[in-house]
Amino acid sequence: MKKQTSKDYASALFTATQGLKGKELHEVIHNFVSLLAREQKLKQAEKIIAEFVAYAKKQEGIQDISISSAHELDTKAINAIKKSFGEKVEVTQAVDESLIGGFVVKTQDKIFDASLKMQLVRLKHQLH
């Protein structure tokens, strides 16, 4: 039989718990944990939790983005960026002075680079 990955467990848990509340949810989670214990997978619990969060967000269409910019951005700017990524967006923010100006948005597997640093690098390549 194929070995189950953390992702398999996470997706199974997501399907099992979908739409459940209160006591039922508690029971399913209890069963899930005892399954993990039986299969000796408790060591991977952290990984499964991380996978679960990522998987659940993907299923519900929530995007995680992180914005780094040279200076602190105001809420108006952040909201504008958020909007361009759709409705459900969770933002983490950071300041990175090495960007000089502009901002960089990171999603799950893409980087949108609108920083001054990158523009300068491109200009350098073009002049070369």
């Binding site: 597997d109 893409k110 980087i111 491109r122």
Partner: protein, 496 residues
Amino acid sequence: MSINTIVEELRKNIASFEKQVSVEEVGTVIEVGDGIARLSGLSKCQASEMLEFPNETFGVALNLEEETVGAVILGDYKHIKQGDTVKRTGRILSVPVGEELIGRVVNPLGEPIDGGTAFHSKKFNPIEKIAPGVMTREPVSQPVQTGIKAIDAMIPVGRGQRELIIGDRQTGKTAVAIDTIINQKGQDMICVYVAIGQKESKVARIVAKLKEAGAMDYTVVVSAGASDPAALLYIAPYAGVAIAEYFMDQGKDVLCVYDDLSKQAWAYREISLLLRRPPGREAYPGDVFYIHSRLLERACRRNKESGGGSITALPIIETQAGDVTAYIPTNVISITDGQIFLETDLFYRGIRPAVNVGISVSRVGSSAQIKPMKKVAGKLKLSLAQFRELEAFSQFSSDLDPETKKQIELGQRMVEILKQPQFAPMPVAHQVAIIYAVSNGFTNEVEVVKMKEWEDKFHAFLDKTKPALIEKMSKGEWDEKIEGELKDSINEFKKK
């Protein structure tokens, strides 16, 4: 250029510069070690795509798995850590190609390592490419003159052929290949020498020798040294043939030497085991045959309609204690159109190049031999075969009948003239002349030990007094009249 024009140029460039948001697909490093990185993300990554690691280090995606991508890192990997971002480049692994590579020494990524200026090549060739198909090929028809008598006479190589050079260490495999490259001067050939896992000192020596012989004017050296990571050793021959293909596309004939493919197989085995691919015989992965077959299949003679040009491949394989039945030697023997066996025994008996002409073969080369060589080589082959049968008796020379004795002495003379020093390739017309003289018994009264001296004087004589005859023979002309002329020349020389 004056300051004003520079400023003007700069203004124009900056004005045309557009602001753009770059979108890049990225992944993260999960684990790294031994030149291998396992990455997550990169869901759209292609097979053998180049990936950019931090600090402008590049890698190649080799294993595309459900969750992860296994990549080899080309270059130093010490600075790459877990969690680093890796960018897709969208480019399949490729090397810069072009005329400016001629005379240079480059690494398998096409970066110069000879201390010369970097080149800004506009054209890149992917290192992996499907070999030309059936309809674009034609049989070999033109010879590659190696300048080595034993090979040109009995194991001829045609343009577009794949001829394996196989033998133990220290039997002169590289010497055969280098002599061949040196002999291509003025033959309208481009040579690519790929050094895989060789000592840097050896590569430096070879390059110096090629320069001295004027051979760097038409040669590209691709070198992945012994200290380079296995990934570079593995891609080196493909990079070499990609450079060769550029010249072939210009309709030129190219000679490609891979020195040597056993080291490439070792490098590939290392990578495969680190990527956890299942090991097979001698711990090589299942597709070790394919790495060599797809490389050597790219050697070809293309027909006129498809643009012409050819790539001749001279792969080199090193055997361990003469064992040609090991995995890699048998594989490559079965792929190539013949092989040149070099043997330790012969080497130490002073027969250099140490070619064992009995078991060496060329399956297609004879159709590319020039006519005079074809005529004289038949007799040489036959007499040498007879000599080998009788050789065992040569110790009892006093008890032998005169006929056998004569046959043995003829064989000994032939073996003597097939000896040749390194870096001294011989023009084909001279080869024909000396082989004709010996195999037709014109030298029977010369002592075997004095053969060498006789030969040298004979060549000098021909050069001085019969340049027209030499010219005709090197053009491939041969009829009774030319044969008669050659006979007369030999007799004339003998009278002196």
